[in-house]
Amino acid sequence: MIDEGSPDFLTGYRDAKLVHSVIHEIKQRITQSWILMEICGGQTHAIMQYGLDQLLPDEIELVHGPGCPVCVTSLELIDQALWIAKQPDVIFTSFGDMLRVPGSQEDLFSVRAFGGDVRVVYSPMNAVKIAQENPNKEVVFFAIGFETTAPVNAMAVIQAEKIGLHNFSILPANVLVPPAMHTILSSPGNRIQGFLAAGHVCAVMGYWEYPPIADEYQTPIVVTGFEPLDLVIGILQTITMLEEDRVAAENAYSRVVSFEGNRAAQKMINQVFEPVDRSWRGIGEIPQSGLGLRKAYKDYDAERRFDSSGINTSESEICIAGQVLQGIKKPYDCPAFGTLCTPQSPLGAPMVSSEGACAAYYHYGRKTNDVRA
């Protein structure tokens, strides 16, 4: 195979000249201060990585949203995962990010260190393969993620059923973006004036759910991608609406996202999952904000297969992750940031995941609010 390199239609979205040109346009249009939230942790990471926060005009404050599944998975679910992983004859599979997330007492890494069979998988479909290869073991997959990950989590269950596997189950932990947006926008302390919606969530779901939210809270929403040019275009469109006193849900990631989204993927999610109330770490319970397995697939529910009732959970008293995830405080406002809490020894989940706001601030040296100094 001849490697032709990445084509222009991909590399063009990292073109510094175009990024500067869009930032110039933002500076032309902006007349006052605006506070925007990027929902997705992947976007937070990209903003820091490319230094966009330092290139944008001072009038724009970017607040980092709760779109980091590793960060918002509840302590109860983490402790449950840890308990299941410690059971004999269990192979516990997970995305790598989850292994260092602190539970009440320990993390999945320490379970593995003490002999638990904890394996990192790239995809839940790999966990199905592990179950096929280990018929005498119970294989459990920790099904975290937003709408982006829901179809592949559903696919793993469908695949297990197709093959006739009886030793595979998932610990359902999927969460949904729109209910979280409602929670943030209706909170009395809300400061968010515009949203950059998560591009890959919308690749699956489309953005038909967003016009009513934009309308109800009079807050512009722009579906935004992950490359530096995508991010500044998303910001330009949001600022333009705010400056023109216009409210709508717009799409700045049209090469991947359509209004209706991927209907086949949505159908797959609905076949396997149904909305359930779910608790978000640091935020609390949000009604109908999670995905649980439908009755027809309850046999694949690890919560049913393993009775882990009676676990007591206790959260770190210092960590302010909940306020960081809601955009109320910045990571450097936390007394433990970079001292008691580091990626090597995290107190809260946002310091663990590469998408967590605390980890992004730590890695890219945003240690005070004086980022432009």
Binding site: S21, H200, A203, R255, M268
Partner: protein, 85 residues
Amino acid sequence: MCLGIPGKILSIYEDHGTKMAKIDFGGVSQDACIEVIPNAKPGEWTIVHAGFALNKLSEKEALETLDMLREMTELAEQEDLKHHD
């Protein structure tokens, strides 16, 4: 977590009745499930997350946006030159 990597579909096959594809990610080829983009063809682009194609990636839409921005940038540069004249 919601990382999606653009890749080009090389070939399509089935595994236990599930639609799969070999996908090229800038020179590295990997398998991914393409069950929810059933009409995808070799040579087309897709966004892959955790071994699962989320949607097709439209080359045409991508280029249209870039062309528009390049035009805008050129116009701004010309304006700038005029101001300096």
